[in-house]
């Protein structure tokens, strides 16, 4: 009896994933636990391991977007043949077969296979076609769960839901669902313009930032004397030469302590309630080759500076190699975005929804500062806090930022 390989749910809220490539070919021997295929979710590309040993009998979905739970391949005993049987027949006492998602007939697979050979004609119900038309969704990219593999209304609903997760944007239409085939470029592009198909990550960035843009937000900016912070970093580096402790690590740690002191900033706005989080899970914006990702360091307030650095190093490495797991990306309550290494002195970041605040960090530069009626040159850093005004008012946000400034100027206070 062959075992189904189904697209697993790799994280909360994951409705579908895009199969990027298979690491095994049909006919290959597969061991349970071996990496079997790679799936691109809207947060990361991840390897999925085989859940059974045997022979990869058939890959049903070679690539493209697939809803969670959909069968994508079959693993069977060596030499096992695939039986293709018709749908069970209804007779006198029969009741109904289980719902399509839970169903498991060879029949559907055979039909799905036939669809691909069907000259590219997409089989969809009239209702599904109308809904897809109205919502600007490409039917070609959807997988039908209706009779004979037909795309039905539910499939379009699912696609449009996953294309516009959480609060659907009232202004922008939801982006079209990713299609299996690369979308063709708009007709009238000049020849020297390259149309790069959107990756899942690109789509997610676009969707989430569009969402964030509709949140009423405000910015607060302070400049911080980094004299003591720099001294601390220097000594910490000496103590932990392998870790390359950075200003970002210190910021994460300091913000963790600050959020503990100001829990009213460690919140998320939702329609029914304000969610207040007990610990500070600080996300670090990382420019990964495939695009911006924000891996999360959990409960930063409980970690030493060296521990923060060690975790940050690991996450950044995974981001650079595209091996972040969904768990690495979930559960953040606050984000730090540092562009200081590029010499940027000051900028404001766009919120990282559903979080209520993000800190934009500029470069530390020597600047003339008036101290007690004297002009002194000090290493100064300017940070800008962007805040979701629905969740946090100006005064508590300013109070939090003052704490961050105080901690940075006298890091011992953050302990």
């Amino acid at each position: 009896m062959a075992t189904d390989v189904k697209l697993p749910r790799l994280g909360q809220g994951m409705e579908s994933g895009t199969i990027v490539k298979w690491l095994k070919a049909e006919g290959d021997v597969v061991e349970k636990g071996e990496p079997l295929f790679e799936v691109d979710t809207d947060k990361a590309t991840q390897e999925v391991e085989a859940e059974a040993s045997g022979v990869l009998l058939r890959i049903e979905i070679a690539s493209g977007e697939v809803p969670v739970g959909q069968r994508i391949a079959l693993i069977g005993a060596p030499g096992e043949e695939l039986a293709i049987s018709g749908a069970p027949e209804m007779t006198g006492e029969t009741t109904l077969a289980p719902a399509p998602a839970a169903r498991d007939t060879e029949f559907r697979a055979a039909i799905n296979g036939a669809r691909e050979e069907n000259g590219g004609r997409v089989k969809a119900s009239p209702l599904a076609r109308r809904m897809a038309r109205e919502r600007g969704i490409e039917l070609a990219g959807l997988t039908g769960t209706g009779p004979d593999g037909r795309i039905v209304a539910e499939d379009v609903e699912r696609a449009s839901a996953s294309a516009s997760v959480a609060p659907p944007s009232p202004i922008e239409p939801p982006p079209p669902a990713p299609t299996a085939a690369p979308p063709s470029p708009p007709a009238a592009l000049p020849v020297d313009v390259e149309a790069i198909p959107l990756t899942n990550i690109r789509r997610t960035i676009a969707r989430r930032l569009t969402e964030a843009w509709q949140v009423p937000a405000f910015q607060l900016t302070v400049s911080v004397d980094m004299t003591h912070a720099n001294a601390l970093l220097e000594r910490s580096r000496d103590l932990n030469p392998a870790l390359r402790i950075t200003i970002t690590d210190l910021l994460a740690r300091v913000c963790g302590s600050g959020l503990q002191r100001h829990p009213e900033v460690n919140v998320q706005f939702s329609d029914e309630s304000l969610l207040r989080f007990p610990s500070a899970n600080v996300g670090i914006a990382v420019a990964a080759p495939q695009g911006l990702v924000v891996p999360v360091i959990r409960s930063v307030e409980r970690l030493s500076l060296a521990e923060v650095a060690a975790q940050r190093l690991q996450l950044v490495e995974r981001a650079r190699t595209g091996t972040l797991q969904l768990a690495d990306l979930e559960g953040g309550t606050f984000t730090i975005s540092n562009l200081g290494m590029f010499g940027v002195e000051q900028f404001s970041a766009v919120l990282n929804p559903p979080q209520a605040a993000i800190l934009a960090v500029g470069a530390t530069t020597d600047r003339p500062v008036a101290v007690e009626h004297e002009v002194r040159v000090l290493p100064m850093m300017t940070v800008t806090l962007t805040v979701d005004h629905r969740a946090v008012d100006g005064a508590p946000a300013a109070d939090f930022l003052r704490t961050v400034k105080t901690f940075l100027e006298d890091p011992a206070l953050a302990l």
Binding site: G92, L96, S125, P126, G146, R150
Partner: protein, 326 residues
């Protein structure tokens, strides 16, 4: 609310009209002293006498022809054809005369004739006494066709049929005669051409007639246990057809099953399916399923008869197919 059997409901409609109106009278085989072969007219001969409850020779063409003549002269005759299988013998009168006079006379002649008949399988009457031939008649312009599934509908619709100025073929089903149901205290005419939503649901609409309304209700109960919400709509009047109610229901549920006891092929359900795809195409999420008798003469052997005629499980299977759960 009083309860009447379907048989009593038909009888009550006849008696009520006859008491109110001298022009209403009955003709048919063995309907007088014997009270009809199905017992529908029992007691009417005693109440209204031999002039108004008239036995006829065994000639369906004569029965209908005489009815047409009386109707053209201003009476409101109700004639009974003992089995709808024998309607075939009177088709010349129905199709070429009753259905045509009003049109061909430019409206000068009306034919307010009601033709009651019964049929249906389920009690081993064999291939010549159990057919469902409504499709033959809904195809003829100039006729109205009614098929009631409940006592209340039978009473209210038959009364309206008697008072309609056009020839109306009124189908009854043998198995429904003993079925009881609530009816209004006093007879309330039900207008022809109005469907009835028998049961509300959200996932699939079963458009059923006659006994299939009851079998669909059974299927709906089983489906309900599986979390499927079935709406059942009975057109009641097959001609003219209340397409609005059918289309509205299908626009709501996005799926349709058409069910009747007559043979599926070329049946009334084919017309309903065609209407639905014309008027609700963009609301359909699955092909329309049809439930009906197999394309075979009805068997005498009960097991074979049951095999040929659609059962609740057939309706259930069709419901399942529309939801991808067959």
């Amino acid at each position: 609310m009083p309860e009447l059997s379907y048989r009593e409901a038909v009888r009550d409609a006849l008696a009520t009209a006859m008491r109110a109106d001298e022009d209403v009278f009955l003709m048919g085989e063995d309907i007088a002293e014997m009270g009809g072969s199905m017992g529908v007219t029992q007691g009417l001969y005693e109440e209204f006498g031999s002039e108004r409850v008239r036995n006829t020779p065994i000639s369906e063409m004569a029965i209908v022809g005489a009815g047409i003549g009386a109707a053209m002269q201003g009476m409101r005759p109700v004639v009974e054809i003992m089995y709808e299988d024998f309607l075939t013998l009177s088709l010349e009168q129905i199709v070429n005369q009753a259905a045509k006079h009003r049109y061909m006379s430019g409206g000068q002649i009306k034919v307010p004739l009601t033709i009651r008949t019964q049929g249906g399988a389920g009690w081993s009457p064999g291939a010549q006494h159990a057919q469902q031939l409504e499709a033959w008649l809904v195809h003829i312009p100039g006729l109205k066709v009614v098929y009631a599934a409940s006592p209340a509908d039978a009473r209210g619709l038959l009364y309206s049929a008697i008072y309609d100025d056009n020839p109306v073929i009124f189908f009854e089903h043998r198995l429904l005669y003993p079925v009881k149901g609530d009816v209004p205290e006093t007879l309330e005419p039900i207008p022809l051409g109005k469907a009835r939503v028998v049961r509300e649901g959200t996932d699939v609409t079963v458009i059923a007639t006659g006994p299939l309304v009851h079998r669909a209700l059974e299927a709906a109960r089983v489906a309900g246990a599986e979390g499927i919400s079935v709406e059942i709509v009975d057109p009641r009047t097959l001609q003219p057809l209340d397409t609005d109610t059918l289309v509205d229901s299908v626009k709501k549920t996005n799926r349709a099953v058409v069910a009747h006891e007559a043979v599926t092929r070329m049946g009334f359900g084919a017309e309903v399916a065609a209407v639905l795809q014309e008027k609700a195409f963009d609301w359909l999420d699955a092909p329309i399923e049809r439930v009906g008798a197999k394309f075979a003469p009805l068997a005498f052997a009960p097991a074979m008869e049951q095999f040929v005629v659609p059962q609740p499980a057939d309706v259930l299977a069709a419901i399942g197919k529309t939801l991808g759960r067959a």
